[in-house]
Amino acid sequence: MNSNIAASIRTKRLASLIPMLSMLIPEDAILSEPEQLKAYECDAFTTMRQIPLLTVLPDTIEQVQHIMRCCHALDIPVVARGAGTGLTAGSMPVENGVLLGMSKFNKIHDINLHNRTAWIDPGVRNQAVSDAAAPYNLYFAPDPSSQLACSVGGNVAENAGGVHCLKYGLTVHNILELDVITIEGERITIGGQALDAAGYDLMAVMTGSEGLLGIIVGIRVKLLAKPASARVLLAAFATIEDAGNTIAEIIGAGIIPAGLEMIDQKGIQAIEALMHAGYPVDAAAVIICELDGSVEEVEDELTSVITILNRLNASDIQISTNEAESKRIWAARKAAFPALACLAPDNYVMDGTIPRRALAQVWTRINQLADEYQLLVVNVFHAGDGNMHPSILFDSSDEDQHKRANDLGTRILELCVHVGGTISGEHGIGLEKINEMCLQFTGAEISQFHALKNAFDDKSLLNPGKQIPTLARCTEFHAMHIHNGEMPFPHLERF
C-alpha cells in the first residue's frame, strides 16, 4: 500500500480504536510504541515482517470479546498470536491491524483424572501440559519440536503434529472442546466434555484454521497414559531404498512405532559434527525407530523389527536399554536444526508430505533439483507418516541465493503434490506457502474455502490474507511460475 495512505489509515484507526479499547482494557495491555511493537513483527519465519497497528495483551475472556467487538465495529483486522513459534508467518501482523497476544492466558485450570482431560488456557506451553499431568502418569501427546516454547492455542490453530503422531495422532485427535470468541465478540462452545457433540464437527474445522475463523480462549485436551516401556533403535543403511523398504516392512508387519524418523547422509554428518552421538557418518541414511507400550508388547515388536533390519542390510544397529540412552538418540535427532545452522546462515524448512511409496523417487528428485539450483538440501523425514522436512540451506543476504531458495522450495512442494501428497503436513500455510496452495487446489476448491471462511467472518477481519489465496493471486502465481516456457506438470488442473 502507498505509504502515505497507510499512514493516514493508521492515524485514523488509532484515534478511533484506542479510546474504545480503553473502556475495558488497561493501559499497560495496549502496546503502541514502535520499540514495543517491534517484538511482534514476525513469528519464527523471520524473513517476513510487519509492524502491527497495536498489540493488545488481554488477560480475561471479556477483554477478548471487547477487543473483537471494537475491531468488528471499526473494520480493523485482528491477528492472534500464541508463543510466536510458527514457521509460516501465520501470526505475522497485517498492516494497520491489531495483533492479539494471548500470552497472558497461561493457566491450567483443571486436570480431570477420571476423564483424563485437562481444561487449559490457550497460552499454556505444550510441554507444561505434560509436566502438569506427569504426577498422574498422564501426558499430552502432540509434541512438535518447539514443544518447550509453543502454546497449545497455537498447536490447535496449526493442527500441530510431532514425531509421535503416526501412533498418537495430531492435535485434532487430542482435543475435545474449544471455547471460542467469534469476530462479533460472541462466545461459543465447540465440541464438549463427551467424546462427540451434536451437530457439525466444528472441532475439525477450527483445528488448523490458522486464526482465520475465531479466537480460541479455552481448550479441553485429552491426556494419555504414559507407556510402561519405550525402546529406541538406530540403524544405518547403505542405500535410501533399503531404508525406505525397511520402513514399509515394519508397518506392513503390523507394527505402529511411536516414532519413525529417517535422516540423509548430509543430515547425519551435520548432526554428528555438533552432537557426537555416534551416528554412522558413512551411511546413506539412518532410521530411528521408537517402540512403546507394555513391556511385553515392546519386547515382541523389538524382535520383529530387528529381524527386518537384518534382512534389509542394516548396519550399526544401536538399541537403547534405558531412558538415558533413548534420550541420547533422540536428542541428536532433535538437534538437527541447530546442526544445520552451522552449515549456512539461513535454513528454509519445507513441510511437504508424501505417500511413503514415493519416497525414493522424491528423495532422488530433490537432490537433482538441489544441484540444478546450486543449493545444499538436507533431508530429515518423519518417515512413519510421510512428512518430509527438506531443509534448503542458503544465505539470505545474497539476493540471488534467497530467490533460488524460494524457487527451489516451490519446486519441492510441487513435487510433493505431484506424487499425491500435500504442501504442508504440520507447519501450516500462513503466508509462507500461500502461493503453493494454488498448486494443490482448484479455483472451485479455493472458492469453497473462502465461502466457509465467510460463514465465520463475513468481513474477513480475522488474519486476512493468510492461508487461503485469492483467485487473482493464483492466476498471477501460475503466470509467473513457468519453467523454460513450460508449465510444470501440465496435466494438473489450472485456472
Binding site: L113, R116, V205, D300, T353
Partner: protein
C-alpha cells in the same frame, strides 16, 4: 468380490491401482444431477443403500442414489491408507483389509448386509473400539465431494498429515449429507490386533467407573467396555503377552465367543436393542453419574468406558436437559416400530431427535450449510429442521 492387485515395494514409480471395479455411474453424471437440482432449487434425498435410513430426521426430496459409484480405488497395506468410492460396500472394504491383517479402527456398525462406505462416513457412527482407537472422523484423511452447486471438489488427501486448507473432509463426517454428496473417501487403517480377550466382572456402574479410572492411567490395552445388568465386559487387544497379562490382572471370567458378542453389540442385535420403542443414545463424559431412574428405565447399556449409554427414556426433554447439564447430549437414535415419541418433537416421530444446538451454534451451522449448499438442496432438514 473385487479383484485386487497389491503392488510390491519395488513398483514405486506408479500409483498403485487397485480393484478396477467399474462404477455403474460416473461422478460427472451425479454432479450433473446435483447441478440441475441447484438450478431448479429442488431438494435431493441422498441414498446409499438405505441401511441407516432410520438415522436422522425424515425428509422428502428427489432421490439421488449414489450406490452405483463404487469400487476400491487404491490400497497399499504399508501406507495404512485405503481410498474407495462411497458406493463401495463396507463389507468389501473390511474383507480386503482383513486379508492384509488390517481393519477400520472405528469398528463401524453396518446395520444391514449392504451398508456403503458413504453412509458410514455421512452418519459418523463408531463402534465399541471408539474411545480407544478413535471415531470415524479421526480416520478420515480425504474426501471428494459434490457441493450444493454441483461442483466436484477434493479436500485432504491420502497422507496422514495434511494441514493445507480447512479440514473439510472431517467436517463431512456425521453431516448426514447436508454439506455435500460424498464421492470418494480416503481412510487411515490400522493393523488388526494380534490377540484379543474379554473378561466379565460382576460390577455396577460405580465400580466400573472406579476400575476404569485407575486402569485409564496405566498403559493397559483396553479396546472396549460394556456394562449391562451389573455385569462389566472388558475387552483387551494387542500383542498376546500384553493382553494376557492385563486380563489376568483384572481377573473375572473369560467370555467365550467374544468376537460374536462385540459384533452383536455394535450391530445392535442384542435383545435389549430390539424393543418397540425409541432407543436413545446419551453421549457423556465417561465419569458422568448414572442417569437418574426418574428419566430412564433402570435397564440400560453403557459402553465406551461410560461415555456412550443406550437407554429407553421416560421423559425425553428432561433427559436431554440432564445430559446437557452433565456435559453431554442425548439423541433419539432409532425407532424400530414407528412408536411415537410422546414428548419429543412430533415432527420427528419417525426419525432421530438430535440434541438441540445453542442459538449461536445453530446460526453458525446454518451459515456453514449455506456456504456449501446455497440453495438448501442437499438432504435439507435431515440433521436439524433448519440444516
Amino acid at each position: 468380490m473385487t479383484e485386487v492387485l497389491v503392488l510390491s515395494q519395488t513398483d514405486k514409480q506408479q500409483a498403485p491401482v487397485l480393484s478396477e471395479q467399474t462404477p455403474t455411474v460416473t461422478a460427472e453424471v451425479i454432479a450433473e444431477q446435483v447441478k440441475n437440482a441447484y438450478e431448479q432449487q429442488s431438494p435431493l434425498k441422498i441414498i446409499g443403500c438405505g441401511s441407516k435410513a432410520f438415522y436422522g430426521r425424515s425428509i422428502s426430496g428427489v432421490e439421488l442414489t449414489v450406490s452405483g459409484y463404487s469400487g476400491i480405488i487404491n490400497y497399499e497395506p504399508s501406507e495404512l491408507v485405503i481410498t474407495a468410492r462411497t458406493g463401495t460396500p463396507l463389507r468389501e472394504i473390511e474383507q480386503l483389509l482383513a486379508e492384509h491383517g488390517q481393519m477400520l479402527g472405528f469398528e463401524p456398525p453396518e446395520f444391514s448386509d449392504n451398508a456403503t462406505l458413504g453412509g458410514t462416513i455421512a452418519c459418523g457412527i463408531s463402534g465399541p473400539r471408539r474411545p480407544y482407537t478413535g471415531a470415524v472422523r479421526d480416520f478420515v484423511l480425504g474426501a471428494t465431494i459434490i457441493n450444493g452447486k454441483g461442483e466436484i471438489l477434493k479436500f485432504g488427501g491420502q497422507v496422514m498429515k495434511n494441514v493445507a486448507g480447512y479440514d473439510v473432509s472431517r467436517l463431512m463426517t456425521g453431516a448426514l449429507g447436508t454439506l455435500g454428496v460424498l464421492l470418494e473417501i480416503s481412510l487411515k487403517v490400522i493393523p488388526k490386533p494380534a490377540f484379543e480377550e474379554t473378561r466379565i466382572l460382576p460390577y455396577n456402574h460405580q465400580q466400573m467407573c472406579t476400575l476404569l479410572s485407575t486402569l485409564g492411567r496405566q498403559p493397559i490395552p483396553i479396546s472396549a467396555t460394556y456394562l449391562h445388568n451389573n455385569l462389566l465386559y472388558v475387552r483387551f487387544s494387542g500383542a498376546k503377552a500384553g493382553v494376557v497379562s492385563a486380563a489376568e490382572n483384572i481377573g473375572g471370567d473369560v467370555l467365550r465367543q467374544a468376537e460374536l458378542f462385540w459384533h452383536q453389540l455394535k450391530e445392535q442385535r442384542l435383545p435389549y436393542f430390539n424393543q418397540d420403542r425409541t432407543l436413545w443414545r446419551v453421549s457423556l463424559p465417561p465419569s458422568a453419574p448414572c442417569i437418574p431412574d426418574l428419566l430412564v428405565d433402570t435397564e440400560s447399556i453403557t459402553e465406551w468406558g461410560g461415555a456412550q449409554r443406550w437407554v429407553y427414556p421416560k421423559d425425553t426433554d428432561a433427559l436431554q436437559q440432564w445430559a446437557s447439564d452433565n456435559g453431554g447430549h442425548a439423541s433419539g437414535f432409532r425407532n424400530r416400530c414407528g412408536a411415537s415419541n410422546s414428548k419429543a418433537n412430533s415432527s420427528d416421530a419417525n426419525g432421530s431427535t438430535f440434541s438441540p444446538l445453542s442459538p449461536a451454534l445453530l446460526t453458525l451451522s446454518k451459515r456453514i450449510k449455506n456456504s456449501f449448499d446455497p440453495h438448501n438442496i442437499l438432504n435439507p432438514g435431515r440433521l436439524y429442521k433448519d440444516l
